[in-house]
Symmetry: C2
Subunit: 273 residues, 2 copies
C-alpha cells in the first residue's frame, strides 16, 4: 500500500485504528484450544469482527516465534487471511548489518507478505536501507517508545542539544521520505510527539500504548495528527482480550467500535473527514 | 553454560573462535541442493569439520526466517545437533517491551535451546530484563557494531561527554553482571574497545567483523582480552564459504584451523594458556 491508499482507507473507514495481534495461547478464550491451530482461529475471529473498522493489523513476531515452526505457519496463514485493503505490519523490531537486513527484508516482504516492518535504529542507515528498496513497502523505525526504560537511552541529550530520538529522526531524513518510512512514538509521549511533528510534518507515525499501556487516545491524537491524519494508533490487549467467553468476538468488536467512534469524532474535529 | 565453563572451554580448545552460521541457499555448495534440507546438511558438515576447535556457533536468525516455517525447523535441528560443550548464540538482535521480551526469551531459551541471544539496547532495561531471569543463559547487547553507519547513532556524544555506546554500557551495569550479560563490539573498533575494557573489565565481549568485514584478529584480540580471555571472535563468511567444491568441508576446517592457530599464539602471548 502507498501513502495515498492508506490516507484513503482512513477516510473511508473513519478510523486510524491498528489492532495488535499479540495472540498468546495462555490468554485466548479457552474454548479455542480444541482447534488444531487455536491462534489462527482466534486471529480469524478477531479479524472478522473488526476488519471493516480498522486500517491495519500488527502481529508481534515474538508471539508466533515462541511456538517454533508451527507459529510461523500460523503467522503466514494469518497474513494471507487479511483483506488486501488492510495495512499489514510485522512488529519485529529488527536491525542488523546490510547483508543480514537484506535477508530480513526478504523475510517480511517476500516470504511473508507484510506491507511494513518495525525496525530498531541502533545500527543506523545500513540496517534500514534494504527495506527501502521495495516499492510500496514500508520501514517503521522506533523513535520514542512507550516503555518506562526507553528514556534511559532514547532521551539522552547529545552535545548538540538534541535528544537521541531527535538525532535518529533527523538522521533518517537523509535516508528516505514519507512515502516509505514511518516512525513509532509511544502514546504516553505527548509532549515529545508535538516536537516530533515539527521535524516530520508529513510522515506517518505509528502510536502504540493506548489501552493496556495507559495512553490517552484523544490527547495523543491531537498532538500527532497532521492534515492527512498521519497517525495509526495501535491497541492490542484491551481489544483482543476484552472478554474470554465463547462469544468473545462480540466484545472484541464492541471494544474496537468504541475506539473507532472516538477516532471518527477526532477526525471530524480536526476536519480530516 | 556459565562463565567458568566458557573460560574452561577456551583453555581446553586453545580457541576463542565462534563461527557464524549465516547459511544461505544461494551461497552454499551446489551439490548440497539435492538434499531435502540443504541448509541443515551444510551446517552439519561445517559443525563436524570445526566443533573441536571452536567454542561457539552463532546462527543469524535472518538466514533461517527467510525460509519461513521450514527455516525454523532447520534452525531447531541445527541447534539440537550441536554438542553440549558448545556455546549457542542466537544472533537475533531483538529488543521489545517487557511483555514481548518475555516471549522472545522463551523463544530462544525454551522453544529453541540457545545459551545466549543478541539484543538491541535501544529500548533500555525493560527489553533486556526477561532474558536475565534464566540461570546460565546470557543476553548479549549491541554496544558498538562494525557496520559503517553505526557511528551515526552509536558514537553520538552526550552532554555528559559520553558516547552513546558508553551510556548503554554504563547503564547496563545497573541491570546485570558479567555472569549473564555480554556485549557486542565490532572488530574494526579497536580504539573504542580499549576504552570499553576499562568500563567492563570482566565481561565477555563478542567480536564480529573479522574476515569478510575486514577486522584484524591480532589487533582486536590484544585490545579486548582480559585475564580470562574474555572475548569470543566471530567469523562467518570467510570460513563457511571458503570453498564451494564437493569437499568444501576440508577448506572450512583449514580456514578455521588457521584462525585457531593464530588464536592459540595470542592466548600464549597473553599468558592465558
Amino acid at each position: 500500500m502507498n501513502y495515498d491508499q492508506i490516507c484513503d482507507e482512513i477516510k473511508n473507514k473513519r478510523s486510524y485504528l491498528c489492532i495488535g495481534l499479540d495472540s498468546d495461547l495462555d490468554k485466548i478464550p479457552k474454548h479455542l484450544l480444541k482447534y488444531k491451530d487455536p491462534i489462527f482461529e482466534f486471529n480469524k475471529l478477531v479479524v472478522d469482527a473488526t476488519k471493516d473498522i480498522v486500517i491495519a493489523y500488527k502481529p508481534n513476531l515474538a508471539f508466533y516465534e515462541v511456538l517454533g515452526s508451527e507459529g510461523i505457519k500460523t503467522l503466514q496463514k494469518t497474513i494471507n487471511y487479511l483483506p488486501d485493503n488492510i495495512f499489514k505490519i510485522a512488529d519485529a523490531k529488527r536491525g542488523d548489518i546490510g547483508n543480514t537486513s537484506i535477508m530480513y527484508a526478504k523475510t517480511f516482504f517476500e516470504t511473508l507478505d507484510f506491507d511494513a516492518v518495525t525496525l530498531s535504529p541502533y545500527m543506523g542507515k545500513d540496517s534500514v536501507d534494504p527495506y527501502l528498496d521495495y516499492k510500496n513497502k514500508w520501514a517503521i523505525i522506533l523513535a520514542l517508545t512507550s516503555n518506562e526504560s526507553a528514556k534511559e537511552i532514547q532521551l539522552i541529550s547529545s552535545d548538540k542539544g538534541e535528544k537521541l530520538y531527535e538525532s535518529v529522526i533527523n538522521d533518517s531524513l537523509k535516508w528516505s521520505n514519507p512515502e516509505n518510512l514511518m516512525y513509532v512514538v509511544g502514546a504516553n509521549r505527548e509532549e515529545d510527539l508535538l516536537n516530533i511533528r515539527k521535524i516530520i510534518p508529513d510522515s506517518f507515525i505509528l502510536i502504540p500504548g493506548v489501552g493496556a499501556q495507559g495512553g490517552d487516545l484523544k490527547k495523543i491524537s491531537n498532538a500527532g495528527m497532521n492534515k492527512n491524519c498521519g497517525i495509526m494508533v495501535n491497541v492490542s490487549r484491551s481489544i483482543i482480550y476484552s472478554d474470554k467467553s465463547t462469544n468473545f468476538e462480540e466484545s472484541v468488536r464492541k471494544s474496537a467500535l468504541n475506539i473507532q467512534k472516538e477516532m471518527e469524532q477526532i477526525l471530524l474535529n480536526n476536519k480530516i473527514i
